[in-house]
């Protein structure tokens, strides 16, 4: 077997050195009747070529985003990732390293984590950021728990514009922990009255911006109202590129900011792995979940980096830890950091303007199709289309025409009764031809 260096002669000699004659002597603690006598009922080993062919056949059954006019978003976005990013993250020293518990031989990981934390703090307009969560949705669940610890209250208020999957993750965690969640009804027009739902028991208000329908929200009145009642504002985003163009959540008063970082540096990957971004005000840092990288010096006074404030974490604090998270999204952070380094401030802002421009063009083009309307007044690179009939059917028919034209909102939240809405995203990858194909296909299927 190509991955196993030992020969049978090695094995025999090593068993002799250990002082046993049979490998199963080392498995003697397994009850004899539970020790498998033969390999389990699965195929035997395969060479590289055969594995490539078998997996290649499965891959070929899927329609990849780059192969069609593609407008699917709703929490994960198709962006162009420079070749440099994927090359660098595959360097052995990054790819095959572990969590930097031995900092003297992990300064590469630690320095990029410090750079990542700085980039995330700047983007979100917050004072501190951690070294990542699994993704935006689990980060949102953790943010709610953190708000509970900070405020010593146990009720979260969720905006009806929060991605339904995110809301479900929060509700699942809260239900299990015995906490209360109030979820506002879905609000495609962003006209919900969240402020009225905040009371003296509320620990946090969770608002996504742009929201799942694509609307850009002014967080300032919500922040002020929440803070007046002693609650925190948790601002959520699913499209990190939007932060290049829209006012930062920190500047609008957020106490905790959490979001999905997939858009920068990471492929769609059918939903994972992604990278959760998590930032907060400095005064809450000791209540944050996850790893933090900090600056220090070595024995010769040279600057270096280490994981720090570990007394918050499970491996030290056990059942009193701020979270159970251990492994996070290390390599996806690296991809984010490299892509953000390549973009820089100038590149990110331009990328964001291109996304917005493309979405505006697409919205105007689609709004011209008979019976179709765009609901949003303000949006970034995603908007909501109202179509005659069932959105799910329309999207399926569009796929039949070779256009992946968005996400029916009913797929995310069938119980909402909003069966005629399609969430449509447009990024820098869409060309005029893509837009024309979408419009033509939509006219055909309606």
């Amino acid at each position: 077997m190509r991955y196993l260096p030992l020969s049978d002669a090695d094995r025999t000699a090593m068993l002799a050195r250990i002082g046993v004659t049979d490998i199963d002597a080392l498995f003697a603690d397994i009850p004899a009747d539970k020790l498998l006598k033969a390999p389990v009922d699965l195929p035997r080993r395969k060479g590289e070529l055969e594995v490539e062919r078998q997996l290649g056949r499965l891959a070929a059954k899927n329609v990849s985003a780059s192969s069609v006019p593609f407008f699917v978003g709703a929490g994960a976005y198709k962006h162009h990732v420079p070749a440099t990013v994927d090359h660098l993250i595959q360097r052995s020293e990054f790819l095959t390293s572990y969590t930097p518990y031995q900092p003297e031989i992990a300064q590469g990981t630690l320095q990029y984590l410090f750079e990542f934390q700085t980039q995330v703090a700047l983007l979100t307009g917050m004072e501190v950021a951690n070294a990542s969560m699994y993704d935006g949705s689990t980060g949102t669940g953790e943010a709610v728990l953190m708000a509970h610890r900070v405020t010593k209250r146990r009720k979260a208020v969720l905006s009806g514009g929060l991605h339904p999957h995110y809301a479900e993750v929060v509700r699942t965690l809260s239900h299990m922990a015995g906490d209360t969640v109030v979820t506002a009804p879905a609000s495609p027009l962003a006209d919900e009255d969240l402020i009225a739902r905040i009371d003296g028991e509320t620990s946090c208000v969770v608002v996504q911006n742009p929201d799942v329908f694509g609307n850009i929200r002014d967080l300032r009145p919500i922040a002020a109202a929440a803070q007046a009642k002693g609650a925190l504002l948790i601002a959520v985003f699913t499209e990190a590129v939007s932060l290049g163009l829209i006012e930062s959540p920190g500047a609008m008063g957020a106490d905790i900011v959490v979001g999905e970082g997939q858009s920068i540096g990471n492929a769609l990957n059918f939903g994972g792995p992604y990278v959760g971004l998590f930032a907060a005000k400095q005064k809450y840092v000791r209540q944050m979940p996850g790893r933090l990288c900090g600056e220090t010096v070595d024995a010769e006074g040279q600057r270096g980096f280490v994981l720090t404030l570990s007394t918050r974490e499970q491996h030290i604090r056990r059942d009193k830890a701020t979270s159970n998270i251990c492994t996070n999204s290390g390599l996806c952070c690296l991809a984010f950091t490299i892509h953000m380094t390549l973009l820089g401030e100038a590149g990110l802002k331009r990328l964001a303007r291109i996304n917005h421009a493309n979405a505006v063009k697409l919205a105007d083009a689609l709004a011209g199709v008979k019976g179709v309307s765009v609901l949003n007044k303000a949006f970034f690179n995603e908007f909501t289309l109202r179509v005659p009939g069932k959105a799910a059917d329309v999207v399926e028919k569009l796929a039949g025409k070779g256009v992946l034209g968005g996400v029916p909102y009913s797929r995310l939240a069938p119980e909402a009764g909003l069966d005629d809405l399609i969430l449509v995203a447009s990024t820098e990858v869409n060309s005029d031809d893509d837009r024309a194909a979408f419009v033509a296909a939509l006219k055909e299927v309606l």
């Binding site: 070595d298 820089g344 119980e415």
Partner: protein, 523 residues
Amino acid sequence: MLNNQGRPTAAGEATGTAHPTFTGNQALQVEEALLFEIGRADCTGVDLDEPAPFSPRLGGLERKAPIGLVGLSEPETMRHFVRLSQKNYGIDTGLFPLGSCTMKHNPRLNEKMARLPGFSDIHPLQPQSTVQGALELIDQLAHWLMVLTGTSAVAMSPKAGAHGELAGMMAIKAAIDAKGEGAVRNVVLVPESAHGTNPATAALIGFVVKPVPARADGTVHVDDVTALLGPDVAAIMLTNPNTCGIFEPQIVEIAKAMHEAGAYFYCDGANFNAIVGKARPGDLGIDAMHINLHKTFSTPHGGGGPGAGPVVLSDRLARFAPLPFIRKDGSHYALVETPDQAGDVQAFGRVTAFHGQMGMYVRALSYMLSHGSDGMKQASEDAVLNANYIRAGLQDLMSLPFPDHPSMHEALFDDSWLKDTGVTTLDFAKAMIDEGYHPMTMYFPLVVHGAMLIEPTESESRASLDLFIMTLRDLAMRAKRGETERFSAAPYHAPRRRLDETRAARNPILRWTPPQPIQQAAE
């Protein structure tokens, strides 16, 4: 000695430290400034055209102030991150015996497969008719996991080991609630040797954690578990093989005792790599067990993630799986994403957006197909053989806290052999760095003083193990001879000397900030 061009062929006597360089660099070891010290606000390494003029529709919420980000051109970016990479130790650098973490070879075939556009470039919410191959792959991986563990269900979506623990414990809580015992059964038993994630997970969803003692031989005895059982006990969380590297001999009896008491058995599967193809946890009586695809099935650790933590479930828990899951209907694969589609499954909710770590699934299945049932059994045997070979090579010099059981995939030593040497486990670990090794796991498990947990994995050749053993023997003898300076200030040869972690925690600097202008002396 000179060669025929009159050039010396050997170095002089002086050491490197006697000749500090102008740059601070040492040949291939190049110092690298922070991105924010070398980047520029107006520099970009991506060529994008400004869009044609248009009327923005941002509702007046445009960002007005600069963000503060900086950029680098492409060559500068390459150099920055390549230099950083050269300050890291990876599996491909050398033996990485980090116990409990399973730093085995990461096959590059798996990377290539995960990057096929049909897997990497598909969206989790595109129509299911356009991702049938992806769903089939997940279904195949689920099948392999169930066969290898002897279980009948698996929740695929958890994002890492601790997240799998959370999903498994949520299933247990849901099952208890369904029986109407939620108000009563709120205690979870956890041995003190457990990973910190176990008690943290249980506490996260409101369970009260009670410790289970281990016996002097490093194992949990069924009588000690039974003594703690009562109507208030929801579950036990037990790692098997345990964190001391021992297969729990009474695991079947413990499972039986839990079930008789109306409670559940959560198995921490972090060490499943020792027994793949040798024993099935389902046969042992477990109810839930997460599988770290990034340990047992070789997906890269990537400097701390991403991982993947599918959790297998017994018949008793299968009905309580989280959403989403895949249902096969003839040749069609359907994603069950909402409770109304779930049928008999009383899904307890959702632990993450979308469907889990597809990129890791592809890598893990590529590993499994490559090994096959025969290769995976051999990998487990080699991992166990290698650990015991190291143990045999060191046990006369270093002390074994639990000599009565064979080690599984990792060998555990304590620090009693270092008594009176003035050298600590930490010092010893740092001296290993100078010898070109990543240290073993240190000070874990907590039940052993100054623990050193060595997991070589099946990826090491006999020659590599022999050199490792000789190196550790040499270090051990030096420690015993009183050569403390080699240890107390180690590492000497790493990119950094020992780092001050206390200072980092006392005055946390968690991000770069622009240097403050120097105040005028007159002010």
